[in-house]
Amino acid sequence: MIVAPPASYCPRHPARMLPTELPGAGEIVSFTTLHSPPEGFKSPLHIAIVELEGGARFVCHGAETRGLKIGSTVAIEAVNNVYYFSSLGALDRARIFWRRAGRAGDRVNSIAQSPMKRVWKGKDRAGL
């Protein structure tokens, strides 16, 4: 199991977690717009759960949810320690495809270099 933010123990096993890195792109698991957010947040507040390639799920903010669907590919990036999602255009998706095919694109490199690299990976005690 891969969790974010870094945790000392796996939530489902009493096993120590190890650090890992993931690319900053993934899929929308679900999203909502909160119209009466708690104190300290502006309405409307767009919140999404994003699953990165590799399985880690992030809670993120976004500028808008128009046109967003469950399964949409998005990039996530941290600004002042808060993760934001943004929709990827056709060109960005093509670059991700080419990176998978072995040819890294500019946008993906810049995502990979963003501060979101600090994701931690858990290992089952029995597993290793």
Partner: protein, 374 residues
């Protein structure tokens, strides 16, 4: 293990109450003791989710016991967020089943309406994973995420989740203890204020005050607790692979039915945790009361209405009876006991077997209780 019976069940009217929390809990406890024909229990279990913040009182087991004149009766307090009432029932069940006590009073309550709504939301929201809270996640926000995932996957639509609210308000209209007693229409639900897209105000339960209590005994009288089960899951919703069903409910149901020695097909009616109306549809399938993928259809077809094949939330549910947090898990059991013993005037159902389902936090600590009249 001894058989455990519920010999008394009582509750306050749910809603906006002016009395102190201790008085609400005493009112519920005394009415349960009256029905059980007991003056004094051998032990007490108290359920309160957060009296420290809501009403500013701590050491709450002793506080409530002393208020009721039971300062010398051994008392403990149990807490599992919004399912605290059901958890307290479990603790009382264990005390009687183990033979530690012959008669145990279980009483739960919460008092919130004197505080401003944002403050109440913030206090309830503290049961959410701290990291998710940093992003402004509240209970309605997480329920909104779950509802959207449900609608994307399971052919659950806006009409179905509105119909749950319409049905439960119609039931509450017949329940003198309910918070909201006026019927509503699908139109009312679909045009109410948007809270956490796609959830609107009338998909969500109100903020309520109230108390509920039961008297447990090893004497063969009243309604038997045939099975009781707990299920748990990660505090963080993002750590769950599946958003559209709750592991905590599935496990709780499995454990409760294993103890009962029969399955969901025996259940005649149920009280389910509908803090947000889609949760009733999820619970129907997680517990196995309705086959997977069929809860929406069953609801639209009226199968879960008061006059349907499997009445769900005859009290009005959290949605319309109201949700005074730690009282809720017990209020569900009170309704089941009253129904089973023919004391639910105006909304009386036929049946021998009832089920109560309570969710703690965002389905991190859930309970299923199966009750049987012999």
């Amino acid at each position: 293990m001894r058989d455990v019976w519920i010999s008394g069940a009582g509750m306050t009217a749910i809603g906006r109450r002016t009395e102190p929390l201790q008085s609400l809990m005493a009112e519920a406890a005394l009415s349960a003791l009256l029905m059980a024909e007991r003056e004094r229990p051998d032990a007490i279990v108290v359920a309160a989710m957060n009296p420290e913040e809501f009403v500013g009182d701590g050491n709450f087991a002793s506080n409530v016991a002393t208020h009721m004149g039971f300062a010398e009766v051994p008392t403990v307090r149990i807490e599992t967020a919004t399912s605290s009432g059901a958890a307290a029932l479990y603790a009382g069940f264990a005390e009687v089943a183990a033979g530690l006590h012959r008669t145990v009073l279980v009483v739960g309550g919460e008092k919130m309406t004197h505080l401003a709504t944002p403050r109440v939301s913030e206090l309830i929201g503290r049961s959410i994973d701290p990291y998710e809270r940093l992003y402004g996640a509240t209970m309605p926000a997480l329920a909104g995420l779950i509802t959207r995932a449900l609608m994307a996957r399971n052919a659950v639509g806006l009409r179905e989740i509105a119909q749950v609210a319409v049905k439960n308000h119609a039931n509450a209209a017949k329940n003198p203890y309910a918070h909201y007693r006026q019927p509503i229409t699908i139109e009312d639900v679909m045009t109410s204020r948007m809270v956490a897209d796609p959830l609107r105000l009338l998909h969500c339960c109100p903020i309520s005050d109230g108390g509920a209590a039961v008297v447990l005994t090893s004497d063969r009288i009243g309604v038997r607790i045939a099975g009781i089960g707990q299920g748990t899951d990660t505090l963080a919703v993002r750590h769950r692979q599946n958003l559209t069903s709750f592991r905590a409910t599935q496990v709780a149901a499995r454990v409760a039915f294993a103890m009962a020695g029969f399955g969901p097909e025996r259940v005649d009616f149920a009280e389910l945790h509908d803090a947000f109306t889609p949760f009733e549809l999820i619970a129907l399938e997680d517990i196995g009361l309705i086959p997977v993928g069929k809860a929406s259809r069953a609801t639209l077809d009226g199968e879960t209405a008061l006059d349907g094949r499997l009445p769900i939330n005859p009290s009005g549910g959290l949605k319309a009876r109201g949700h005074p947090l730690a009282a809720t898990g017990l209020a569900q059991v009170v309704e089941c006991v009253w129904q089973l013993l023919g004391r639910a005037e105006g909304r009386q159902l036929e049946g021998h077997t009832a089920l109560a389902h309570s969710i703690g936090g965002l389905a991190t600590n859930n309970w299923v209780t199966v009750l049987e009249r012999l």
